[in-house]
Amino acid sequence: MPEIIDQIFVLLKHWLMGYVPSLLKPVVSAILSVVPVLLAFPLLFAITTVLERKGLGRMQNRYGPNRVGPFGFLQPMADGIKSLTKEDIIPRTADHLVHLLAPVVIVIASFLVYAVLPIGRNMVIANLNAGVLFFFAVGSMVELSVFMAGWSSRSKYSLLGAMRAIAQMISYEIPLVLASIVVIMAAGSLSTVTIVNLQATYTGIFPHWYVFTPWGLTGFIIFMIAATAESNRCPFDLPEGESEIIAGYYIEYSGFKFALFFLGEYLGMFATSAMAITLFLGGWAAPFSFLTWIPSYVWFFAKLLALICAFIWIRGTLPRLRMDQLMNFAWKFMLPLSLINIFAAGVWHYMPAGASRWLVVTLVIAVACVLLSRGLRRNQWFHVRTYRFAS
């Protein structure tokens, strides 16, 4: 029975496919596998915006939206209707076509990456041989669309925001890729499906998630930090740093185009989180073998939601970094650390299983961490100060 529930969508699709003339089969099958993604993630976006506003509210001793619809959950709908009916302003000096294309491209790019994300057992749109590479390749299109948005608006703030955004995104893309290399080394495949399948096995009750190794943990942390930066989330939300450059690259966007940027950004955040789950947290695999009766997609979304909550939590707490610190952190800490992590993963591979390799690898990473954070602090040595008082 659990298997049936687990596979219910797959079975449903098969059953539906039975009624489709064979000529149309590939198309219909593709549509059937795409439509759930096109529905689920925008819905998740809607839910997340409310959750975020409510969660932040709770952290700040208030309720957050609770009037619009039950518990405020119709808020995104209202926002959507409002955006839809809002006037669309394009600045006179703007580059109209590029201005229009930018939000479209960002949404497309954000959606495309979901093609390789397995959201459940046997539930993936396309099991590509080079899935992870596809993810990064398509993901990098976002940078271009951000540039398009910032540049075409022809406003100083938007351009500044776009330049910031691109600089930040390209800086964190490298650690993002390098952090995932360790998993690929262990899995021996670029296919996300294979990677998850490998993690969905258990020793005793414990699964083989890559996060449960020293290099996996390091990789996961690097990946998550880089993902935060990639999706412009606090504390890396400099491109739209309200207090500095007002709204960043989408400063001139109104109406639904603005909403599309929002959508794109959140979809990007979900996608990178989902990728982190896929690579390090076992994708749709249950955390304990005795919990496998819970459907795989539930696990996937549960993990995703947990990561989203972490994002919200961090957003509610931290101030944002400065650009130079951000860049230093990427290039002088994250990048070397992820390289060392690859090295550590290599060492792990060549050492015999046992406590010794745990020790050695952990040591390598720890030493690297300490040294690098030293180096980082040398640029700007900060400390908790004590103060004197005038008599």
Partner: protein, 213 residues
């Protein structure tokens, strides 16, 4: 209408409501103010968004720093003549539909400072104001009250027909003259299309008159 609509939405989802209701509901439930404060009243405006009063409950905590994404301009504070062109320009740069709440005595009429040479005697000289909140500063509750009043006002608007609001009517302007700095004063000192005031009945004013009118 408001309560009714809400329960309607809750019960049957959105399909059951008419386009106009849906439109009004969407607009009024998602009023994003422009992140824009001028003076003391702005502090009370901020206080309104803070934990104690929590404007967010109405879905209005999304203070957008850019006018392009804002629906509501809360003119909170004294509009000086030096600032007036900027305020008008910001208002102009907001996309329709847009609303203005004039918060505090200063924004309505210049308030305590109206005798000043650099103080604009009310922002409604240049842009149309939807709701006025008297007070100096108005309490946060008063702002919420005005907010609800604005929501009510939106709720009563028609989508079509001759009484439809300004933004749905192609003949009505959506941007207003941005005054310029003159040698002594702003030029022009008011926008006649926006600012229509009852004339003082000079013959009567100042004379004895029953207060019970």
């Amino acid at each position: 209408m408001d309560e009714q609509l809400k329960s309607e939405l809750r019960r049957q989802g959105v399909v059951a409501t008419s386009l106009q209701e849906l439109y009004n509901w969407g607009r009024k439930s998602s009023l994003w103010p422009l992140n824009f404060g001028l003076a003391c009243c702005a502090i009370e405006m901020i206080a309104t968004t803070m934990a104690r009063y929590d404007l967010a409950r109405f879905g209005a905590e999304v203070f957008r720093p850019s006018p392009r994404q804002a629906d509501l301009m809360i003119v909170a504070g004294t509009v000086t003549k030096k600032m007036a062109p900027q305020v008008v320009r910001l208002y102009n740069q907001m996309p329709e539909p847009k609303y203005v709440i004039s918060m505090g005595a200063c924004a309505i009429s210049g308030g305590p400072f109206k005798q000043g040479y650099n103080v604009l005697k009310g922002i409604d000289r240049y842009i149309p104001v939807d709701v006025y909140i008297p007070g100096c500063p108005p309490r946060p509750e008063a702002l919420i009250d005005a907010f609800l009043m604005l929501q009510k006002k939106i709720d009563e608007q028609y989508l079509t027909g001759p009484t439809r609001p300004r933004h749905l009517n192609a003949d009505m302007p959506s941007e207003f003259i941005v005054p310029e700095f003159g040698e002594h004063d702003l030029v022009p000192t008011q926008n006649r299309d926006v600012w229509q005031v009852p004339l003082v009945n000079i013959s009567n004013a100042g004379k004895n008159e029953s207060g019970s009118d």
